[in-house]
């Protein structure tokens, strides 16, 4: 059971790298921001799997923190950064 879960965690880590590729290639800020959101979601998933594998229920709290604070960065992005870029003359970074 644990080995399957470890495989899951490894697979989720691969997803993180896929997200990093998206951050690197862009091309637009929303693409990169979506990748950042993916990191948050993946963090929740990885932590939940690890909590099971490592039998450390405290990790669920960390996952909770990731889940709740993930939205904050997005809100900050939409209302501070994207508004400026989209409203200004330059369309992309």
């Amino acid at each position: 059971m644990n080995s399957i879960l470890t495989l899951f965690a490894a697979f989720l880590m691969l997803n993180v790298f896929a997200g990093l590729v998206r951050v690197a290639r862009g091309p637009n800020p929303p693409d990169r921001m979506a990748a950042a959101q993916l990191f948050g979601t993946l963090g929740v998933a990885i932590l939940l799997v690890l909590a099971k594998v490592m039998e450390a229920p405290a990790l669920v709290d960390t996952a909770l923190v990731f889940a709740i604070l993930g939205a904050l960065a997005l809100v900050a992005f939409v209302s501070r950064v994207w508004r400026r870029i989209a409203g200004g003359e330059e369309g992309s970074a």
Binding site: V16, G19, L20, V23, A24, G26, P29, R32, M33, A35, A36, F39, G40, L42, G43, I46, L47, L50, M54, A56, P57, A58, L59, D61, T62, L64, V65, F66, I68, L69, G70, A71, L72, A73, V75, A76, F77, V78, S79, R80, V81, R83, R84, I85, G87, E90, S92, A93
Partner: protein, 320 residues
Amino acid sequence: MALVAWRAIFAETLFKCVVLFIAFGLLMSLAWVRLDAPDIALAEAAIGAGITGALMLDALGHVAGEPADRSAGDMPLPGEAPPPAGEPLALVLLAGVGGLMGLLGLAVWGLPEVYRGVAEPALAEVADHPVANAATVVLLDLRAYDTFLEMAVFLVAALGALILKARAIREPRAIPPAHGSEMLHAVAVWLAPLMVLVAGYLLWAGTARSGGAFPAGAMLGAAGVLLFLAQIGRGQIADTRVMRLLLSIGVATFLVAGAAAFLSDRAFLEHAPGTAYAMIVLIEAMITISIGVTLALLYGASALDPRTPEAEPTEERAPS
């Protein structure tokens, strides 16, 4: 991970840097988990990946002309004159820091050859402490002095933000006020109370397992930031007496606790036997409030300026 860190500093655009910084926070947190340090993982998740990312994105919104190149980040801050006497000062600071490092190095050099470290006696103390979480015991009992000084640093940071806010009256390019979107409003109305709830939970959890004042304070600060972004309430932070009280209550609690210890012939911040649990919970609750308000203020101070570009914020300045 090192690659992400490298890219987070030297990516072509500042925005990319911020996104990579968020990714770095996640990886860092996972690394701490694998190193069996859930407390640090939690703090990293709350502060590193969570609220700092939002703070940086906000700062990005203030840096004009970001998309062109990363040199945009080097432009002077709004309202800041180029410091003419900056370089000698920097040299003096550098010399001071260098000297301090040298002294520290000498101190390390002078340590006895066989240094057993403090881990063993500390763990022995932790074993029969009323508070179960080792990190909390160390932070708020054994090394309470450190935490006290950290709170003082927080207070200084908040003061700095207040001063900057008072000085930065002119903003070359004001951000248009974020007119309320219903979605954002709904998110904030649902999420902010949840954040406060989770902050309370983390605070309580800190006595038994991972958690404690710093993640809880970050969570509280996040709730404040969200409210600023959604422009709920006044949509800005007022420099009122209540605010100042909340800012300083963490340091004040520490000071009172320390002074009380002096009065009853104990060492500074040494809790009286039997009251350690209550004292730790009390201090943690107070520094949670201070941390939360400070973080929200650091955010709110920057959020306020662009919207009142011309008006001098006199009505908010309590006479000090």
